[in-house]
């Protein structure tokens, strides 16, 4: 880790500590604090979970149990790009699940997993509540209503290629 990185890590830890203090280190704020930690670090590694457990005076297994219970918390580092396929009822009916399968095959990543090179995470979500836009896909926080396989692959490939040329 270079100096720059370690500074950033310190900033993040300080930010997390601030949030924990705002919640007065109350154990019942655990989920809020996990959200905050994930915002800072992008995912929840064991060191962070251990730190939160220590600060809130909670057993480590309890903190891990809570973090792993909820789908929103990542216990593995996410890819640099994210493709989230909605598999709610409407999206399923209109081909969302099939689309997810096709993307799994195309990119060789199982749903919920990240490509070995860390470029892309493929995941599903059970209904974003925007059923009028089915099938809905979210790529890096940007929604793609009425998605279909070709354009989604094109868009993702462009994002992945775009990153290769960057320094």
């Amino acid at each position: 880790m270079n100096v720059h990185d370690s500074h950033r890590a310190d900033d993040r830890h300080r930010a997390l500590e601030r949030v924990m203090q705002q919640h007065r280190l109350r154990p019942d704020s655990l989920i809020e604090i996990l959200h905050a930690a994930q915002r800072q670090f992008g995912w929840l590694d064991r060191d962070v979970l251990g730190l939160i457990a220590a600060r809130l005076r909670l057993p480590p297994s309890l903190v891990y149990g809570v973090a792993s219970f909820y789908h929103a918390f990542r216990l593995e580092p996410p890819g640099r790009h994210r493709c989230t396929v909605c598999t709610g009822t409407s999206c399923h009916l209109k081909g969302g699940s099939r689309l997810l399968q096709q993307l799994e095959q195309h990119f060789g990543i199982a749903c919920g997993a990240t490509a070995p090179d860390g470029s892309l995470t493929l995941e599903n979500v059970r209904c974003l509540g925007a059923c009028g836009l089915a099938p809905l896909i979210v790529i890096d926080d940007e929604a793609c209503p009425h998605a279909s396989f070709g354009p989604v692959v094109e868009r993702l490939t462009a994002s992945l290629d775009g990153e290769d040329t960057s320094p």
């Binding site: 064991r46 979970l49 251990g50 457990a53 057993p59 480590p60 297994s61 309890l62 903190v63 891990y64 149990g65 792993s68 219970f69």
Partner: protein
């Protein structure tokens, strides 16, 4: 202490206020099968093996976690209940890898006994056969997730009686798995006191003592928790 009267299997039974149906039934000689229940621990009502029927209730209720009420009419062994219990045990047998013949708890397992008691001579469901893993990193104990039925007796005994809360549950649904601290090898746990209560609380061969390849001694958790309460 105030007492109340209820009917269990056509017999009038007296119970303490706040006492569970299970405890009242056992005292009156009706033996309701249980699995996730362990005297001295807070009942979870999770395995549903101790379901009983109460007149006027739309669905069966868990005897371990339902309080006896004045005038309740309870039945513990109807055909419907037996069918439900069988179904639960068969589903548990199919969920992970319960190969009794090669299990440290063979002949001393509560799941095995319960299956026989309920007349289960085969399992109707497909075996799911997950690769569940074994952790033998602790110097004295081991955990074999293949045998685990997720009753959480270990989690509760470690939290409620030992006070260490070394165990908890990772994930949810079918992917639930008992974990130690931050899902790390048991041998590296910073919180485990090595007391062995979890091993004794485990109804199957999931938690075992190394070098003691057969029967586990079972201690009386109820007395232990009373002792702990009295020290508080």
């Amino acid at each position: 202490m105030p007492r109340l009267t209820l009917t269990i299997n056509n017999r009038s039974v007296s119970a303490r206020r706040g006492e569970s149906i299970l405890s009242a039934a056992r005292r009156s000689g009706s033996d309701i099968p249980t699995l996730c229940n362990l005297g001295g621990l807070i009942p979870a009502g999770a395995c549903r093996v101790c379901l009983v029927e109460v007149a006027g209730y739309p669905r069966p209720v868990p005897a371990c976690a339902t309080r006896a009420e004045q005038g309740m009419v309870v039945t513990t062994d109807t055909e419907r209940l037996t069918a439900a219990r069988r179904m639960i045990v068969e589903l548990l047998l199919a969920e992970r890898n319960h190969s009794c013949a090669v299990c440290v708890m063979n002949q001393h397992c509560q799941l095995q006994d319960l299956a026989a008691r309920l007349g289960i001579d085969h399992v109707r469901f497909a075996f799911i056969s997950p690769l569940a893993g074994v952790d033998i990193s602790h110097e004295r104990f081991g955990i074999d997730h293949n045998r685990c039925i997720l009753c959480r007796r270990c989690v509760r005994v470690c939290d409620e009686i030992e006070g260490a809360h070394t165990w908890d549950v990772d994930g949810r649904g079918a992917a639930s798995r008992i974990i130690c601290d931050l899902a790390q090898p048991w041998g590296t746990s910073a919180t485990c006191t090595g007391c062995g209560k979890c091993v004794q609380a485990c109804p199957t061969g999931a938690l075992f003592e190394k070098d003691a390849p057969t029967k586990k001694a079972t201690i009386d958790m109820e007395r232990l928790s009373e002792w702990r309460r009295s020290r508080k």
